[in-house]
Each structure stands twice: as C-alpha cells, then as structure tokens.
Amino acid sequence: MRCEILRMEKVTYLGQDNPVLQNFDLCIMQEEIMGLLPINHFGIATLLKLLLENDPIYYGYIYFRGKLINSWKESGAKKRTPQLSLISEESSLIEGQSVLSNIFVYQRGFRDWIIRNRVLEKRLGGIFEDLSLEIDPRSSVESLGSFERIIVEIIRGITAGHSLMIFNELGAVLSEEELKKLYQIIRYYRERGISFLLISPHYEELKMICDRTAFLKDGQIMKIAKDQREGEGIASAISKNYRKQINFYLKDRKLWDKMTAFCVHYLGKTERQGFEFTIREGECLVLQFLDSADYRDFSDCLTGDGRKREAAFLLDGRRIRPGRDRECAVIWEQADKSMLFPELSFMENLCFTMEFALGNPIKRKRMRDRIRREQEELFGKGIARKAAGELTKREKYALVYHRILLQRPKFIFCIQPFKNAGLAQRERIWELQRMLLQNGIALIIPTISMADSLSIADRIIRLHTQGEAEEWKRISFHLLPDTVPFHDLYS
C-alpha cells in the first residue's frame, strides 16, 4: 500500500477573479519523485505560492499526508501550512549565519536553551558523511556555491521533518555534474521516505530521475506520464511544430569559411579560468560551463560585477566591455524583464542604443519614421506608441532582439536565453536568434544547462572544472549525452 503525501483535488484558485489554476489534480505518493513540466509558465508561481502558504482556494480540496488541509468549504480562514520545502534559484537561507545555524538553530521546532555547537556539528558531520559531502558547518552561507547551498537547504528541510521537497528549475543553476550528484542525494532520501517534486521545462532533465511526470498547461494538468516512453511521446507531441521548424533550419544551415572571424579572449579570475575562442560572422557558439562557480565568475564579468577582479574580455587583442561597447552586445537572462524600461514607449526602448546612427539631427526624423514603419509592419499599427510594460511577452522579446539588431554589433553574449521560458517563448527566442544569425551577427551563448541551445548551436565549447576546453562541432553533436534536449535531431 502506498501513502499519499500530497493530493490536490479539483483545485480552482482565482487570481483577480480569473482562474489561474482550474480543476487542478495532482497526487504525489510517498517515496515518489514526481516531475512537473510547465509547457507554459501560467499557474506555476500560483501553485508554488498555494503550496507554501496554503491560501484559501475557490474550489477543491488539498490533502497533505492524508489530512485535509484546505477546502473550498472553509475558504475564509487560513489553514495549517504543509510541511514542505521549496528550493529554487534564489537562496532561502539566512544570510550572515553559518550552515550549522541555518540547519538546526533557525528551525521552528528548535527549543534548546543552550546551543551546543559541538553536538550539532557532530550530528551534521554524520549527515554529510552519509552523503559523501565536504561542507564546513561553520562556514557562512554566503560563501557556499549553488550546489552546496541547495544541499544545505535540503538538509534543513529534512531535519525539520519535511516530507516533500520541491525543486524549481534547478537545471539552470547547476552544472551537469552537480545535477548528477543532486540526483544521487535525491535517491538517497527517497529511500528514506521523502517525496520530491521536480519542476523543469525540459523533459530530458526530468526523465533522468522522475518516476512520473505531469505536464502543466494554462494552470491545468494535461497528462501524467507514467514512464519514460510515454513522457517522451508527450514531450515531442507538444513541441511538434517547434521541432519541425528546427529540423528545416538544421537542414538548410550552412556556414561559410570566408566569413570574418574574431578572436575573443576571456581573462578569467584565475589563469585556469581563462580561455580563448574564435567565432565567425553569423555563427552560434555555445559555451557550456561544467562548473557553476566558473559560470558565475564569467557572468559577473559580463555584468560588470567582476570589475574589481582581473577578469576581462579581449577582442583581437584589444580590451572590450561587453554591453557597453557597440560591437559587443549582451542579452541578459529573462530579457523581457531585465532589458526593457516598462514606462518608456516601444520606439524609445527600440532606439536608445542607436545614438551612433541617430546622432545626426537631419537624418534622425527620417530614420525614426522608417524604423517605426518597419516595426508597425511587423507587429501591427500603433505598437510604436505603446509602453513597453503593456506589450505581450512575445512582443517584449521581439523588441529586445530587434533593438540589438539595430545596434549592429559584431557579436552578442546571450546569457542563458531559454531560462524560465515556456515552450512558446522558447520557440520565439529561437526564431529571433535565427534572425540575428541570418543578419551576420555572431551569437555566443554562455550557459550551464544546454536547454534549447542545441537547436541553434553551430559549435559547443564545454569548459571543464580543471580549465580544460572541449570543442564539439555540429557533425559530432550526436555523440553528446542523450540527456541534452534536441539531441535526437542529430542522431
């Protein structure tokens, strides 16, 4: 007999009078690793909030460990919150405190009058030993890497007696190796009766470990795949059109040797981290970091947080500042949120990096009118005057990429472009990236997780922890691990 940990039955949750979750059914058993694949991200944030805070629901029932904890019939009062942990990209640990304090002291159930560090350390040492981990219990949580931070959060949840752990899109934070280690730890705790809910937009990530996978769309569970074969079938059925487009693109894709090549040199924080690569006009290169710390340093250098460090970029031997110099643009993660000024209009957002072209007052009006006409032809009349905040996600992404196109850079660093994006958005981002490549702009995608990068990549450089760089050309993509999304397109 199996025990139910969480059962959500016909749950309807309203947000601003409209259903965000509707007839939502989900059941997670004890010792089960359940996957949740959001086809679009509608409803996922609400679901997590509902699970954590147990807000009153409009209709339905929620059971946790067999007990009814939320029901529409008693929607007026707040109920007991379920004992579960949510682990996501952002840390939930208390900053300025040690690992030990975070795990034991800042717990709801901790009632000791005297904190006996030695006893607690011994206890934690035992846990770390079981998991074959080496984390200093006295170290401050800020000094932890992503992987260590996640482990500390898991142990904190386990010691608090939580029976369900929810992981929200950790594939974008952890490297392949770290994910494998995490999965080992998940299996270890599964055997001890803990259940897990893993959320990821990529089935390839989920199939590695999940017993079942639920597919969520528009706030409803469409189907629950009971095995890998069924899951793969559903995953390819929902991305049928996208895959068709990619297939066409890959068949026609040709790169010319005559294209101008640039030599980019990354001077890392340490000598080990530094590397050099060449890239041609219109080429897409994926830089996959197999160590999340190296990736963090690299992205810090791009954002400018690494100014104090020695890390820098050289283009053909001369120092460049990505994002500040016109020839080297940067598209940040979740560009629809991070790269737009919501109160400015579409045109203002589009043209503010075009000073080089619009500087001449005589040319300015004519050129602006031309751009406006072009954009209105693409997106419909009246778009130019709309505030960026009023645009749809699809239009926001288009605005960012068109702005970069008008800037005419030689190459672009596109940081984890597919992160936290639903299927439709990923498809849109892929189309826009293709547009940039067709215009002769080189695209460099620094990433931890490959996500959809294989659908557009011409070359991949996998950067190992030891500073080794391993180059993969398209011809050998089929030799990549089959857990990489879209691997099947090359086999």
Binding site: N23, D25, C27, Y59, K223, E230
Partner: protein, 360 residues
C-alpha cells in the same frame, strides 16, 4: 428540510438597528434629564464606547460575515462549482421569507431528484420485465448450442460472452460489486469488442501481485469501469490506425482505491479536455444530467462520476488527463471498502430491521 438554529440576517439587522436606536435615545435622555457632571459624562462616554465595540463585533459576526458567506456560496453555485441541493441546507437566509424559499427549493430539488430516481427505477424495472432476462439468456444459450453443433466455435464464444455481459448488466441490481466482478465484466466486454477489431485492440490489467487478493475483494460501484473502458475504445483506440492499447491500473493508497484507465488512442485537444473537465466538475451539469438523463456527449463519464458522488461524496470521483495523439487517462478515486465490511453492514442492517419488526 428544516433550517434550525439559523436566524435570518434581516432579523439581526432589525435587532442591530433597534439597539442603535435605543442607544441614541439613551444619549438624548441622559442629556435632557441628567445634571452635567463631568464624571458622569466620562462614565457615559466609556460605556458608549464599550457598547459601540460590542455592536461592531455583533455587526461583523452576525451580519457582515453571514452575508459574505451567503454571497460567496451563491457565487460558486452560479458559476457551477457547487451543487444547489447541497448548499441550500448550508446557506444562511436573508429574510424569513427567503428562509422559507430556500427550504422550498431544497424540497423541490430533492423531490425532483427522488421522483426522477423512482421514475428511472420504474422504467428500468419495466424494461427488465419486458426483456425477461431468462428468456434472453435461454435464447442466447440456444444460439450458442446451435453454433456449436454447426461447428461455428467463434459464434458460440461470442454468444456466450454476450450472454455473460447482459447477465451482469441487467440481472445484478446491487449498487456495489467486487472489483473482481467488475473486471470480469470488462474482460467480457473486451472479448466482444475483440471479435470486431481483432489484433488492433489490446487490454492489460495491472496491479501489484502482492495486493491482488486484497484488491479483487474491494467493493466498487457497479458499472464504473466498463463504461470508461467502452469510452476509451470508442473515442480513443478505435479511431487510431495502429494498434491501440488500453490499460487498467489498480492501486491501493492509504486514502482509498485508485483505478486508472489509460489508452494510447487519439486523445483530445486542450479545448475539448477543458470542456469535459468542466462538465465533470460542474455541479449544474451534473444536476441536469441527473434529472433529465441527457447530456452532450461524455454521458458515461458524467454518469459514473455522479454515481460515485452520490455514493461516497464529492471528494471521490473521476479525473481526466489527455493529450492529442498521445492518449487519455481516466483516474477514478474511491474509498477502500472490502466485501467483508459490506457483508457485515448488510447483516447489521438485516438484524436491525428484524429487531424493528419484533418491536412492532
């Protein structure tokens, strides 16, 4: 249905207004007839403040909150999430007339449902009498014998399966049957369909071997699996060009029994799925289907869901999951009832019935 212990909100409002008016008169009276001592006015102010607080509390608890409750519940009924029959008993009345009105609606709904049920039972009985099951079984047996004599083994097998299917569907009038019996009927139904579709159809019944003996003795509503299997074949696998497979998965959880009928048929698009789920979750649809006996497609699912709701309550029932070109899953959640428990309760019922007769 009597609505005991619930005063109409309007009466509470009248009481509230009466108190406010009395308070107002008290203030005027004290102003007119009492000497203007400061300590007296201080005392009066504190007293009035206290009364005001009490009144506010009374207003919040006895007027505002029941009114909000009334509105929220009614909104859910209007949106089709909750059934009117169930809520009529719970709703606080606005006025005494409204109270009587709610009682009347409750009675009408219950009597409509009851009369419909008895009507359907009578129709069913009449049909059963017309058919004369024994005549039907004997005829089918006769056909089977003739087929065997003529060497038509397949026809004989088909006739035998058909007779078994009718015997289970028509003769057995109990509400609950064992899972074993229901699965047997599913197998019979599948056997009949197999003659039509040949190797294009496959069916698998999956359950934990260790639990098998226990599970097979569990009680489930009669004809709760077969209509879903029928749906899965007709709307799922039959429309598929390749071989279609239907799986019946049976699991036991700490909360109850979980039956899942999955097929790898044509599935349905999201819009269709949304509508079907709405129909299953919509109390109004359920009510109308129950009263009129009609619906727009998916009748089998609605019917099974409705019967489960009537027998075990709202928290059990059907869930549907589907993806176009991939297949459909219908999940049935039921409480865990074992045959022995059912027999014991039957014995208790008979015993209490007998003792009741003795008393008479």
């Amino acid at each position: 249905m009597k609505r005991r212990g619930k005063r109409a909100i309007s009466l509470k409002i009248i009481f509230f207004l009466f108190i406010v008016l009395a308070l107002f008169l008290l203030v005027i009276a004290t102003d007119l007839f009492c000497s203007g001592e400061a300590s007296f006015f201080r005392f009066r102010a504190v007293f009035l403040l206290f009364l005001l607080l009490l009144l506010s509390l009374f207003f919040f608890l006895c007027i505002y909150r029941p009114y909000r409750f009334y509105e929220e519940r009614l909104e859910r009924v209007l949106r089709g999430y909750a059934a009117l029959t169930e809520l009529c008993a719970e709703l606080p009345a606005l006025t005494p007339m409204n109270k009587r009105e709610l009682e009347l609606v409750s009675e009408i709904l219950n009597s409509a449902e009851l009369s419909e049920q008895s009507k359907r039972q009578a129709q069913y009985q009449a049909l059963q009498n017309q058919i004369n099951p024994h005549f039907l079984y004997n005829t089918l047996d006769g056909i089977r014998s003739e087929a065997l004599i003529a060497g038509l083994d397949k026809v004989a097998e088909m006739t035998e399966a058909l007779a078994a299917f009718f015997r289970y569907t028509i003769s057995n009038t109990e509400d609950l049957v064992t899972l074993e019996e229901e699965l047997e009927n599913c197998n019979t139904y599948f056997k009949i369909q197999k003659y039509r579709f040949g190797d294009r159809l496959l069916m698998r019944i999956l359950m934990d071997e260790e639990d098998k003996a226990f599970l097979l003795k569990c009680m489930i509503p009669k004809l709760s699996l077969q209509p879903i299997l029928e749906n899965s074949i007709i709307h799922g696998t039959e429309l598929k060009l390749e071989q279609g497979c239907t799986e019946i998965r049976i699991e036991r959880t700490d909360r109850g029994l979980l039956l899942t009928v999955s097929d790898n048929g044509v599935g349905m698009d999201q819009e269709h799925l949304r509508k079907l789920r709405k129909r299953l979750g919509d109390a109004r649809e359920e009510l109308s289907a129950g009263i009129t006996g009609t619906g727009r497609g998916g009748i089998a699912l609605s019917n099974v869901n409705q019967r489960i709701h009537i027998l075990f309550g709202e928290e059990y029932g059907l869930h549907i999951f589907s993806v176009e070109d991939i297949g459909t899953d219908v999940e049935i959640t039921l409480p865990l009832i074992r045959r022995e428990a059912e027999e014991n309760s039957e014995k208790r019922r008979l015993y209490s019935g007998r003792s009741g007769n003795l008393e008479m």
